[in-house]
Amino acid sequence: MRYWIVRLGSIAAAVLFAFIIERLAGGFDAFGQRLVVLAGLYVTLAVSLNLINGITGQFSIGHAAFYQVGAYTTGYMAMRFYDASPIKGEAWLICMMFVGALFASVAGFVVGLPSLRLRGDYLAIVTLGFGEILRIVVQNIETLGGAYGMNVTPKFQYIWLVWLLAFVTIAVSRNLLQAAHGLPFLAVREDEVASSAMGVNVTKTKLVAFLLGSAFAGAAGALLAHFEGFISPQMFDMNVSFIILTMVVLGGTGSITGSVLAAISLYYLPEKLRDLPPVSAASLIAGVLAVGLCVAFLKNVEMRYHGPKVKRAAIMVGGIIGAIVVQGVLARMLGNVSALADQSYEASKLRMVIFAGTLIILMLLRPQGVLAHYEFSWDGVKRMLGMKRKVATA
């Protein structure tokens, strides 16, 4: 009984939360609302890839393909059937999410099949290839608009639906891990051969992971198509897959909380960098050198220093402050060189460089991802607030 109350309460909370986000975003301008919507879609994509990659350990790097299948199916359906259909508005969009999810999971099944034979990097390259094949094939289909893209006519903007999808994705992944159903996924991740010897149906587990992960990506694609009102194959190229994969790995492979946080921050980081003032070559060089020094220092401390934790933290903070000072001094010195001070770079050109740099640095400093295997939980919050005693772990 209590179980059902909690369950219904969670669903109500998720819907409520989605509406709160919609209300909050209502005050933003069009650009701000777009950020909220796309961040929500990326959360869905990252968490659903995490299901395949992080939780089941299938090395899939072509997630944009499922996103594309979802977007194009819905786009085509809207083009053919929207005018004649009795359902309009939100109901149509919700139906389309299911249709997109269905078609994407069929694609997921097709990709998942080779994964039964291939493992590791081979699977990675096959999934990557599948994404590319799909993009090129769509590019050559005239009915779908070819390389010029396709207009998706009714444009909808339901922020709450986007975030509800994100919450559902998170809830499904989380429940999968909490319930006994999730154990086979983790077992397959840790060791395929051993888990199959212990009676886990490896084939089924892998396929289910692919089906679930791709279905959520397909639903996200449906929302994207109707939100943007325009889709083109270029929107789903390899770089999108890489960005989604990066979110998963950076957040911590296998950690849902990590994927969510990484998706939001990695989506906002390049957007925020657009507002950056032009940077002069002098401060750019100084910055790169200082960051390099900082990373080398932190890495060395981490590897070589095994003293007390407090002292170690102090050394690290000292190093970072030192790097900031070095950066300031260097920028001043180089600023006197007129060739370097006069040459400046636009933020629009710098943002992808900073994105890539952040990626490398974070991986060098924390290869297991920012949150590693940590998950958010209310118990953890209670423990942190001192409301609950820490349970001794075995």
Partner: protein, 390 residues
């Protein structure tokens, strides 16, 4: 499926030419694929930044040609084989250095980390070089360094006739070309006398019509003649390219099979831990692998930029990089003859698809072949798939 209809549209007289083009393209893929395969063999790492090393190699070749004075303008220095050789060596040297730097800064600290993290680092390095390079490197440099640095002896193409052209068509072509020349001369004779701004004399129009008609007829005759015989044209520079590629591959094989460094590489590729227990300096061997692999990419880049000449941007290396990786997997990754075979197959497959009239699908065909091969031979064509044990 109606294959008869499909075959009807194909022009088999151009097939040999396309196969030759495929081998030439495949040689470049093979050179890049060798770098991928060696790094993967030793480190089990998909080095996504390899395509960017290739891009930097092409830029190095461009800058070297500028240093030699091939930047354009009136007085261009005389091109020679020596300068081409110097460009090749400088490209290889610079790329080797860049490869070693990347390995030291980005991959070495990541050793013993989960492979997916290392892969993300590789993607990061690749993006960093693409977008970071775009800040400093010229955005749209001259489309190619092709014609400028090529010595006189390497210009033009060698022609091989597989079947002789039809004699009757040839006579017809000669006659029509001569007629076209006569008509053109007659037109030019009148046209030359005109000064700018003069009104057109009435007799010029029929002459121009005559010239256009005969010209069209001559062109038609030439097309008929061309289709009647099967011949292969190979730009002479590409002979040189193929020769260099083969020489580099032979050198690589000798290096890997016959020298202590090569033996160390093979040992590390076979078993990382045991190799280090047997007294092999694993770090040094990995650096050496990166050096050699990147040098080969540099050679490929220089030849691609010089003999083929595609517009140069900082995203230049991405597509060839991905395709070369596919080629490496296709042949069996970690396997040097496999990489060469895979590269050649990829090149031939691509040009064949273009020949069949599906040029817009040419980038997809690589992956289709790859998936089909992997499904039936998961280890690649020449590779062997290992059975995993608990």
């Amino acid at each position: 499926m109606d294959f008869g209809h499909l075959m009807a549209g194909l022009d088999f007289s151009t097939l040999p030419q396309q196969l030759v083009n495929g081998v030439l393209l495949g040689a470049i893929y093979a050179l890049i694929a060798l770098g991928y395969t060696m790094v993967y063999g030793v480190l089990r790492l998909i080095n996504f930044a390899h395509g960017e090393v290739f891009m930097l190699g092409a830029y190095t070749a461009l800058f070297t040609s500028w240093i030699f004075g091939f930047k354009g303008g009136a007085e261009m220095p005389e091109a020679s084989l020596l300068k081409l050789g110097a460009m090749l060596l400088i490209s290889m040297f610079v790329c080797g250095t860049i490869g070693v730097i990347i390995e030291r800064l980005a991959y070495r600290p990541m050793r013993n980390q989960p492979r997916i993290s290392v892969l993300i680092t590789a993607i990061g390095v690749s993006l960093f070089l693409q977008y970071g390079g775009a800040l400093f490197l010229p955005n749209s440099p001259p489309p190619s360094i092709n014609e400028k640095v090529m010595p006189e002896s390497l210009r033009g193409a060698a022609e091989i006739n597989l079947t002789p052209p039809d004699a009757k068509l040839k006579a017809d072509w000669e006659q029509k070309t001569a007629a076209a020349k006569v008509a053109n001369d007659a037109y030019e004779a009148v046209h030359q006398t005109l000064k700018p701004g003069d009104p057109e004399p009435p007799e010029l129009k029929p002459l121009r019509d005559q010239r256009n008609t005969t010209d069209r007829e001559a062109q038609n005759a030439q097309r008929l003649l061309d289709n009647s015989g099967v011949r292969i044209r190979i730009p002479k520079g590409q002979f040189l390219m193929l020769g260099t590629t083969v020489a580099l591959m032979v050198l690589l094989t000798l290096l890997v099979m016959g020298t202590p460094a090569g033996r160390a590489m093979r040992a590390v590729a076979h078993d990382f831990d045991s190799a280090s227990l047997m007294g092999i300096n694993v770090g040094q061997t990995i650096t050496f692998t990166f050096l050699i692999g990147s040098m080969l990419a540099g050679a490929g880049a220089m030849m691609n930029a010089t003999f083929i000449g595609t517009p140069l941007t900082t995203f230049y290396g991405f597509q060839p990089g991905v395709k070369a990786f596919v080629a490496a997997v296709l042949g069996g990754i970690g396997n040097i003859p496999g990489a060469v075979l895979g590269g050649l197959l990829m090149g031939i497959a691509e040009t064949t698809v273009v020949w069949m009239g599906y040029s817009s699908h040419r980038d997809a065909v690589a992956f289709v072949i790859l998936i089909v091969v992997l499904l039936f031979r998961p280890g690649g064509l020449l590779g062997s798939s290992k059975v995993e044990k608990v």
